[in-house]
């Protein structure tokens, strides 16, 4: 049976570095997906995820067992993405949508549509995009999200609702059966 996240954290604290590697392998794909969807660029996403894992390792002593590692990890990652996203906006770099087709392991049926969806996602306000991804893509509860972001549950529900409405408006008719 695979060790639980808590087992792995305990082992890392006891000096077993391989257990942290196991945690990285376990969470990297989900973290990268979130980073890619939030930042829209592979290089930025990989940087945010790498920094988040290093931060997690450095902060592992402060991790409390009542937390869940996945939520805790996403809390750190969401912070990293906000920081990187803000830096990028300050640099006023033109957003160039990443190559969605090349960046995902299972190829979308329609590469053009997949790229357009990412472009539409990037039009949402960052805090709305973050809430939508945490809720509908990463399956976090509103309570977890509130803990991760420091935003109240009601406000998060409102963000998710508006983000979804906006995304549906932007993609209307694209996915008709």
């Amino acid at each position: 049976m695979d060790p639980t996240d808590e087992d792995l954290v305990r082992r890392v604290r006891a000096g077993e570095l391989d257990s942290f590697t196991t945690l990285v392998h376990r969470y990297y794909p989900r973290c990268l997906r979130f980073g890619l969807r939030m930042l829209g660029e592979r290089a930025d996403a990989e940087e945010a995820v790498q920094d988040a894992f290093l931060r997690a390792y450095r902060s592992l002593d402060r991790y409390e067992e009542r937390d869940r590692f996945g939520s805790w990890m996403f809390q750190i990652l969401a912070n990293q993405c906000r920081t990187l996203g803000a830096k990028r906006r300050r640099r006023e770099r033109t957003f160039v949508p990443y190559d969605v087709v090349a960046d995902f392991s299972d190829q979308p049926a329609d590469g053009f549509l997949a790229a357009e969806l990412q472009r539409a996602l990037m039009q949402l306000a960052p805090d709305h995009r973050e809430a939508l991804l945490l809720k509908f893509v990463e399956d976090h509860s509103y309570e977890d999200m509130a803990e991760m972001t420091g935003v109240g549950v009601s406000a998060l529900k409102m963000r998710v609702k508006r983000a979804r409405e906006q995304l549906r408006t932007l993609t209307r008719g694209w996915y008709d059966a």
């Binding site: 942290f20 990285v24 990268l32 790498q50 390792y57 409390e64 549906r168």
Partner: protein
């Protein structure tokens, strides 16, 4: 599932969700980079023992204890406190052992007292007390200071009392008091030395082992 999640989740929305959930391609080199960075970080920490100690000291620890366990811990702590206080209060004090003492008199009548308080590494601390209200200065001479009147002056206290504490090795020591640099006065209450290398009367003190 709460209504707000079901609301509006039609086929079109499910298609969007499916697309957004697509698993990303993972670059093994990116994973290797994280692994390398973490190991470098761990190695740097291992090289900084003070940093680790500080981390260990300031790291918050949490533990849980049952009500019964908590009561047992509290009782143990209380017992420890009581036992410590009892030991502190009831332990016999190292009372000074008065070798000889006599009420102070006038003139040159000496009253000398030696008291062992223990504690010297090589033997014992021995207190010498001399009472003479008329003396300007008093010193102690003996085989432990080469009979040098300037080596061990006594300190003047109130009421004509002079005293000094001298660490002495275990064994027999011959001594005398010197008043005003000239008058050698033996400790009249202490044992008298049978002979004197310097022609005057001297006293004897026996010092036991500190252990």
């Amino acid at each position: 599932m709460p209504d707000d999640q079901l609301d509006g989740r039609d086929d079109e929305w499910f298609a969007i969700e499916r697309e957004l959930r697509r698993a990303p391609r993972v670059d093994p080199a990116a994973l290797a980079r994280i692994d390398g960075e973490v190991r470098a970080l761990a190695a740097a920490r291992a090289r900084a023992p003070l940093g680790r100690l500080r981390e260990w000291l300031f790291r918050p620890y949490s533990f849980s204890v049952s009500p019964v366990g908590g009561l047992a811990l509290a009782a143990a702590a209380a017992l420890l406190v009581v036992a410590t206080l009892r030991r502190e209060w009831l332990a016999p004090r190292a009372a000074p052992v008065v070798v000889a003492e006599r009420a102070p008199g006038g003139g040159a009548a000496p009253v000398a007292r030696t008291a062992s308080t223990g504690g010297a590494a090589r033997g014992r601390d021995v207190q010498f007390v001399f009472v003479n209200a008329d003396a300007a200065r008093v010193s102690l001479v003996g085989d432990f200071n080469n009979w040098d009147p300037r080596a061990t002056p006594l300190h003047q206290e109130t009421g004509g009392v002079w005293s000094i504490v001298v660490p002495l090795a275990p064994g027999r020591h011959v001594y005398s008091f010197v008043v005003d640099g000239t008058e050698w006065v033996p400790d009249s209450a202490a044992a008298r030395a049978p002979d004197s290398e310097f022609g005057g009367a001297n006293s004897v003190v026996l010092v036991g082992d500190a252990t």
